[in-house]
């Protein structure tokens, strides 16, 4: 045995599951070959596990080569399951600096209920430093057609360091697309397979999150954490903020203050009328803080465009934006001009019309009340400026359709809007520039 082949074998051996005996010889061989292939000593452009099975992973799988595809069985992500077997931060990581890595057709099972004697199941948010798939500084990677279940913390952390610049000058960063998060697995319900905290946490210029189904994440489904020009497109978010281990109401989509120029378009963000009042434990047996209600979007930062998103059934409200500037909210979408008109509708149900009965105040200042869209700088310590509304469609929300408090600058309302049938007022404005004081309602035929 040469030194090189010995090295390869040691890499493969280190990655082998501790409960090796549970696997057939074919599975053992497939897994060992896979672990070798993705290592720096591997070869070939595709590293596959082509034998179905649940593979316990006791040593982090590290992708150490650029320009490779890492995959399970084509079109069958549930067939090859990489399951955390011990208490470790990541099931798989893609080493910093790599480019051209694709990860597809795999299920990442964080195994929060079983690993380490179940001690990872209901971690407090301060201890949820687990990313089942970690991409700490990837030049560019594509994660697609994968399933993520049972994460004790965050399912995937994606970070683009060097986006690809296309001939037209646009930048494309790493992509997480057409994956499922918390969609259930066999006898495990969707609720049981949701991540304890965030499903996808996003860093890096031009990183994209497209076409995913994300359900029952404990906190946000998607957290845009830092950087610029990120795209969140065509995702379906359902009943996230399920366990809310952070103890406050928040958004299914969260945009941090350090993020600029994000585009949020054509997403369906459904709260499924979820609230923690009246329910003491989650499907995983974790304690829930009573009185917490999800928002569709909770955002900070500047330069964002929210285009034709369907935001519905979020009991706290559709959108809450604070400390924001240069924001566009539109029912039109240049990325998809022919897309079906979507509404921000039926949110804010925690408000039943009587302030004394508001059920959704926990964790928030009392002036932040439910609305379809709430842009709020009432406490005056932050800012909310330069907001453009262009054919926004907001109807049938609890309390207000739009609430604008302390909003300065322009342009305000452009063209016509579809804002109707909201519980208290369609538009509530205070301490704001005059351009936000009124709008022109489109004809009923335009507001279908």
């Amino acid at each position: 045995m040469t030194t090189r082949s010995l090295g390869v074998s040691l890499v493969a051996l280190a990655a082998l599951p501790c409960s090796l005996s549970a696997l057939t010889s074919a599975q053992q061989s497939a897994f060992a070959a896979f672990a070798t292939c993705i290592s720096s000593s591997g070869s070939g452009s595709t590293c596959s596990i082509s034998v179905a099975g649940t593979y316990p992973v006791s040593t982090e799988l590290q992708v150490q080569r650029s320009n490779i595809t890492v995959q399970g069985i084509s079109n069958s992500p549930s067939s090859v399951v990489l399951q955390r077997a011990v208490d470790m931060p990541h099931i798989m990581s893609i080493a910093s600096g790599l480019v051209g890595v694709t990860v597809q057709y795999l299920t990442f099972d964080g195994n929060r209920q079983n690993v380490a004697g179940g001690s990872l199941n209901c971690l407090p948010v301060s201890q949820t430093l687990y990313w089942d798939l970690d991409m700490p500084g990837v030049g560019r990677a594509v994660v697609q057609y994968d399933d993520f279940i049972n994460s004790p913390g965050t399912a995937i952390s994606v970070y683009t360091t060097v986006p690809e610049v296309l001939p037209d000058g646009t930048e494309h960063g790493s992509v997480v697309q057409y994956c499922n998060f918390g969609a259930g697995f066999g006898s495990e319900s969707a609720q049981q397979t949701g991540a304890r905290t965030t499903a996808i946490i996003v860093y890096g210029t031009a990183t994209q999150v497209i076409g995913n189904l994300i359900a029952y994440a404990g906190t946000a489904a998607i957290n845009l954490y830092s950087d610029t020009n990120q795209l969140v497109y065509e995702n379906i978010l359902d009943a996230n903020r399920y366990e809310q281990p952070d103890g406050v109401s928040g958004g299914q989509l969260y945009i941090s203050a350090g993020v600029t120029n994000a585009t949020i378009a054509e997403n369906s963000i459904n709260g499924d009328y979820w609230m923690t009042t009246g329910t003491s434990t989650s499907a995983n047996g974790c304690s829930l803080t009573p009185g917490l209600f999800p928002l569709g979007v909770e955002g900070f930062g500047s330069g964002h465009a929210f285009l034709n998103n369907w935001i519905t059934q979020n009991l706290y409200g559709g959108m809450l934006l604070r400390e924001v500037s240069g924001i566009t909210i539109s029912g039109n979408d240049s990325l998809c001009p022919t897309c079906t008109a979507q509404y921000i509708e039926n949110n804010g149900g925690c408000y039943d019309g009587l302030p004394s009965n508001e059920k959704c105040m926990q964790g928030w200042p009392s002036y932040i009340r439910p609305a379809g869209i709430n842009i709020n700088n009432e406490n005056g310590s932050g800012f909310a400026t330069n907001i453009a509304f262009d054919m926004v469609r907001v109807r049938s929300n609890g309390h207000w359709g739009l609430n604008l408090t302390g909003v300065t600058g322009g342009p305000g309302f452009e063209g016509t809007q579809c804002i109707y049938n909201n519980l208290t007022n369609n538009l509530n404005v205070s301490n704001s520039s005059s351009v936000y004081g009124s709008y022109t309602e489109a004809s009923p035929s335009s507001c279908q």
Binding site: A26, A52, N75, S79, G100, G184, D238, S268, N270, C339
Partner: protein, 149 residues
């Protein structure tokens, strides 16, 4: 007939005969086909929570702007995919449980190949059943996903 032509145009990029002449629009069409599989696989998977699948199917129908007939076609594609995945699952289970030999992995590969082929047929059938405006919309939505150079 026009719809069928559209659908076949979407298929062309997958045919080796045309592989040397792939244009940007062909690439986008191929990407649409590939990405569109996500929804029938997700919603038809026997592994996934059926209640969530039902909720999500309704959301996808709304997002895609499908009319009643198109929604029926979409649902059929999901049901067909479920059958394909169940058959592939049985094939895979049989091969995994069988005494290991070269033919075992061959069986799993065969099941996967049948799934791939059946899915492609499913998607082509669905795309042939939608209105031109829906096809344009689907292209703008699911044809957008990122790829590596």
């Amino acid at each position: 007939m026009k719809r069928l032509l559209w659908a076949w145009l979407l298929v062309l990029p997958t045919c080796p005969l045309f592989a040397q002449q792939v244009s940007t629009s062909d690439t986008n069409a191929s990407r649409l086909q590939q990405n569109l599989r996500h929804w029938p696989i997700t919603l038809g998977s026997p592994y996934h929570d059926q209640k969530l699948a039902a909720t999500t199917e309704a959301m996808v129908v709304t997002m895609f702007g499908l009319n009643a007939d198109e929604a029926v076609s979409f649902h059929s594609a999901i049901q067909n995919t479920r059958s394909l995945m169940t058959a592939a699952q049985q094939s895979t289970t049989a091969s995994t449980n069988a005494p290991q030999s070269s033919t075992s992995s061959g069986s799993a590969t065969s099941g996967s190949s049948q799934l791939d082929t059946g899915l492609a047929t499913n998607i082509i059938g669905f795309l042939a059943a939608v209105r031109p405006e829906t096809l344009t919309r689907l292209q703008a939505l699911s044809g957008r996903g990122g790829t590596l150079k």
